[in-house]
């Protein structure tokens, strides 16, 4: 290989002395191959586009589910009726609970209660059965810390019930009815019991 002749083609000696003539057959082959290349390129483009769409949709669904779970947790906490945010004490600490407590701000002894879901000392009267004996309140449930005047689980057939048992409970009052065996007025409400004693 020499480059001594500046005016000539330096690589001319590498040429094919009898180059082939490419006719219609070559053109047909080239066109068919071109169609195949184009089809593959379009397939690859469609597949990559579909993959991108799937990835974006999956990411969006994942983000939406994460936000939806957080919102439902908050709503269920609010519906449960138990206060999930309690601020008491000088140094509140924030903690995220995984149960029904949600985001709670608790201090001191109420911390474990908020996390474990145990009843807090707020007066939540779950079920009150007015005892017709009038000697005490038939309190069942988890009312902790309430001053009790006495418990009477077995109703005494005293004909004059006193209104003291349900005076502290407000929520179940309209529907609570005294037991038929104890009270002579089955439809009397606690207020009725207090104002109108039975004969």
């Amino acid at each position: 290989m020499t480059f001594d002749e500046p005016g000539e083609d330096p690589f001319g000696h590498l040429d094919d002395p009898t180059p082939p003539m490419h006719g219609a057959e070559a053109l047909t082959h080239v066109v068919a191959r071109g169609h195949q290349i184009r089809r593959r390129r379009r397939t690859a483009y469609s597949a990559s586009t579909a993959l991108i769409v799937v990835v974006i949709a999956g990411t969006a669904i994942g983000v939406a589910r994460g936000g939806g779970a957080h919102n439902s947790q908050t709503i269920s906490t609010l519906k449960s009726g138990s206060p999930s945010v309690t601020a008491s004490g000088p140094s509140p600490t924030r903690s995220r609970s995984s149960g029904s407590g949600g985001l709670t701000t608790t201090t001191g002894p109420t911390h474990h209660q908020a996390l474990s879901g145990s009843p807090d000392p707020t007066p939540t009267c779950t079920s009150v059965a007015p005892t017709p004996g009038g000697t005490g309140a038939g309190v069942t449930g988890n009312a902790v810390g309430r001053p009790k005047t006495g418990t009477s689980l077995s109703p005494t057939p005293t004909p004059t019930p006193t209104p003291t048992p349900t005076a502290t409970c407000l929520t179940p009052a309209p529907t609570s009815t005294p037991s038929t065996s104890a009270s002579p007025t089955p439809t009397s409400t606690p207020s009725d019991l207090g104002s109108d004693p039975a004969p």
């Binding site: 480059f3 590498l14 490419h22 219609a24 070559a26 047909t28 191959r33 071109g34 290349i37």
Partner: protein
């Protein structure tokens, strides 16, 4: 020549040539550069047809500069084949030295490929397109994306470097 209808030809501008019209020129140039690099007629034909098929598959984009584009694709394909061939020769060097008779044409191509591999990328592209592909300086400049003066500079420096490497 048998005319095959395809989409680009139907939508092509009347002033612009269709693929069938420029196909003889494209495959001739592609074959020349492939044969200069490979030295094998069958491989050069395969490379030339593959380059033309790729030009056909994206004819709308390469219609304006189909000839230099096809020469460049053919030279790249031929250099890839040369690279693979060099690896195979190195792998079977002992077998080749004992059993296969030396082929001067193949030796020339391997030497040329070895010398081209030592050139900087810009000089290698310029030498291949300008001298192996027989493109003009303007076409080479347009394809590489530089000025005609830069093509002249790269071509002269590339040839000098090739001469030096091949003289060793």
């Amino acid at each position: 020549m048998h005319v095959v209808s395809f989409d680009e030809a139907a939508t092509a501008h009347p002033a612009e040539p269709s693929f069938e019209e420029v196909f003889p020129v494209l495959i001739r140039d592609a074959y020349r550069v492939a044969y200069r690099l490979l030295g094998d007629r069958g491989e050069a034909e395969d490379v030339a047809q593959e380059a033309c098929a790729r030009a056909y598959s994206r004819w709308a984009g390469v219609r304006d500069h189909a000839e230099p584009w096809c020469v460049r694709v053919a030279s790249n394909l031929a250099l890839d084949l040369l690279r693979a061939r060099t690896r195979a020769v190195r792998r079977n060097e002992r077998l080749r030295a004992s059993d296969i008779a030396p082929n001067p044409a193949l030796e020339d191509r391997l030497d040329l490929y070895a010398a081209l591999s030592q050139l900087p990328r810009r000089q290698r592209e310029t030498v291949v397109l300008r001298y192996l592909g027989d493109l003009s300086e303007a076409q080479t400049a347009d394809l590489i994306g530089c000025s005609v003066g830069s093509v002249k500079t790269h071509a002269s420096r590339g040839l000098a470097a090739l001469k030096e490497v091949l003289a060793r």
